[in-house]
């Protein structure tokens, strides 16, 4: 019996490449530190207007990648473009806001002075937006940063990033030291902001809930290499989670049935086999097929470094541009 899966062979055929302008393009980007390569040969494209989750194990190169887009680091190989320009260009600097993981602020400044810093250094500063975020947390404007709690400090750092009114907001583990309530509120503010202004957001996170509720785009890196890049729905629907019993197929039968497809991850117990598959067409055999959850997809790709990465069409950079960038 043949189960026809409703999806096309691979994802992304519906969208023309380069349909939306790119917020970030990475061309063969690599970064080498003294202890070795943190990131290697990374090429992808983040269309503007997405809220993109950047996921990967600790030390996978997430901060490095974000640092390069924010012009805090120079790539060892390849190049990064932000809205088509170099990250250090005045235009990119004006349009990009970056919130570092440790939320650096001047400890002896008051909250008001910290917002003034944003106002003095950014031509498009939105004082009201920034003040609203601070007010929502009842953080006193006269308080010195050094006297605030970790969560309050994060809120002020958020306010500085939001007040800049960026077109690209890069957040490195923004929510790690917030309680669930504040996290929910700030995420709400982030989504409203992004929706109202078409802001592109790139945020690294370890929280699956954040990913599922907030992000519509996903970039997964592991061991310094790209594993997945693309829209969340597209990535999910490009895969199928199959459950079958050995009674129906036998172990060899199952392997044979899956041989022409890309098996990302499979596990078998005595009588049952579960596999996350990137199908290359109809799958033979008797299977129970489901679209995987984001979590299943993530875990499967992080567990299986040997499986080739999946970069959806809209997430790919043009080969010609890539060749040009690598040559340059």
């Amino acid at each position: 019996m043949t189960t026809f899966l409703g999806t096309g062979p691979t994802a992304g055929h519906g969208r023309p490449r380069g349909g939306a302008p790119a917020a970030i393009e990475a061309y063969g980007v690599g970064k080498k530190y003294r202890r070795g390569w943190a990131l290697k040969d990374c090429s992808f494209r983040l269309p503007a207007g997405r809220i993109c989750g950047l996921v990967g194990p600790n030390g996978a190169g997430k901060t490095t990648l974000m640092g390069m887009a924010a012009d805090l680091l120079a790539p060892t190989t390849g190049s990064v473009r932000v809205f088509g320009t170099a990250p250090g260009s005045p235009e990119a600097q004006r349009r990009t806001a970056f919130l570092a993981q440790e939320k650096p602020l001047y400890r002896r400044f008051t909250v008001a002075e910290t917002l003034r810093l944003g106002r003095e250094l950014n031509p498009g500063w939105d004082q009201r937006a920034a003040e609203n975020i601070v007010r929502a947390g009842n953080v006193p404007f006269e308080a010195r940063i050094g006297t605030l709690s970790g969560g309050q400090r994060t809120r002020v750092a958020f306010a500085v990033a939001f007040g800049k009114r960026p077109d690209l907001l890069i957040l490195d583990e923004p929510m790690s030291d917030l309680d669930p309530l504040v996290r929910h509120e700030l995420m709400g503010a982030l989504m409203a902001e992004a929706a109202a202004h078409g802001t592109t957001v790139l945020m690294s996170t370890h929280m699956l809930a954040e990913l599922e509720n907030v992000c519509d785009h996903l970039v997964v890196i592991a061991d310094g290499g790209l594993r997945l890049a693309g829209g969340v729905d597209e990535l999910r629907s490009a895969h199928v989670r199959l459950t079958g019993t050995f009674q129906a197929t036998g172990p060899a039968g199952a392997d044979a049935a899956l041989a022409r497809h890309t098996v990302v991850d499979s596990r078998a117990d005595g009588y049952r086999i579960t596999a996350l598959v990137r199908p290359a067409g109809p799958v033979d055999g008797v299977w129970q097929a489901e679209t995987p959850t984001l979590e299943e997809l993530l875990l499967a790709y992080l567990r299986s470094p040997q499986v080739p990465p999946l970069i959806t069409n809209e997430s790919q950079v043009g080969d010609r541009n890539l060749a040009k960038a690598v040559a340059a």
Partner: protein
Amino acid sequence: MTTMTSARTSSAATGRGPRLTGLNWLVWRQHRAAFWTLVGGTVLAAGWMVHQRTGMMDTLHALGWPHPKSGGWETSVGSTLTLTGYGLGFLPILIGVFVGAPLMAGDLENGTAKLVTSQSVSRIRWIATKLGVTVLVVLVGTVVLSQLFGWWWSPVKDTSVIGWSERAVFDNTGPVPTALTLFTLVGGVAIGMVLRRTLLSMVVTFGFAVAVQLVWSYFRLQLGNPLSLTTRSDVLTSSAPAVPGNGTLLDESFTTASGKLYGWGTCVGESTEKAQQACLHQKGIVGWHVEYLPFSQMSSMQWFGASVLLALTVAVIAFIFVWGRKPVI
């Protein structure tokens, strides 16, 4: 007075003086404790020197200025000048360690460099503003102190109260204090940028600043062109000729008719005067030779030394900008 302004909200900035904006505001706000300390220290030292000079001039006038009788005042005036000069001599080290080293290292260590450079300002402009404001404050302060010290010292510069080539005077008048301080300051900034740790940079800058002082002390008297005096006299019965004016004696020695020099200890080992004479005669020693730096060279020596230091300062600043151009996390 610093806490007063900080409590104000930004929109109601009613600070004293002209209202700063942009990076100038940020740099002043971040380092205002250091800058106010520099300003306050300058004012205090200036007040001290004005007070001392006034007292000194009162004494001198009572003793018949401009040709005061000698009698006791030289020692006290000399020691006050020396002590003050000695204290001012620590300024390059202090400013290098406490202002220069933390200037960039603090931001790099705390991550606030990331905060500032991810606003809409370029790294180079930020570094230039930090360096520019700091250099300006230090420049104004050292010029004021140098002028005041020179003004205090000038009434007694032709007397034997304190030698012009002594460290207390030479290093605290004219362009020298400014050049020494600026060089140590930018050296500290560069060290801080490379090491990126405040405390470590301060320690290393201290070593650097002390080394600068030692090297400078070594070369101080070599900045001039020594003049020489030669006499034809019996070196055993006459002493070396006095250095003219207020010159600084560099070296006394015996000379032969052909100009060959012997140390003034030559032949002192002989047991009798006769033997000594014979020894001197045998070596052909005919008189004294004295090398000295005239007072008239002081200014040119100071400017020569200062221009070398300022050239080094410019080189270090160039290094800071080259280093600061590349992205830093």
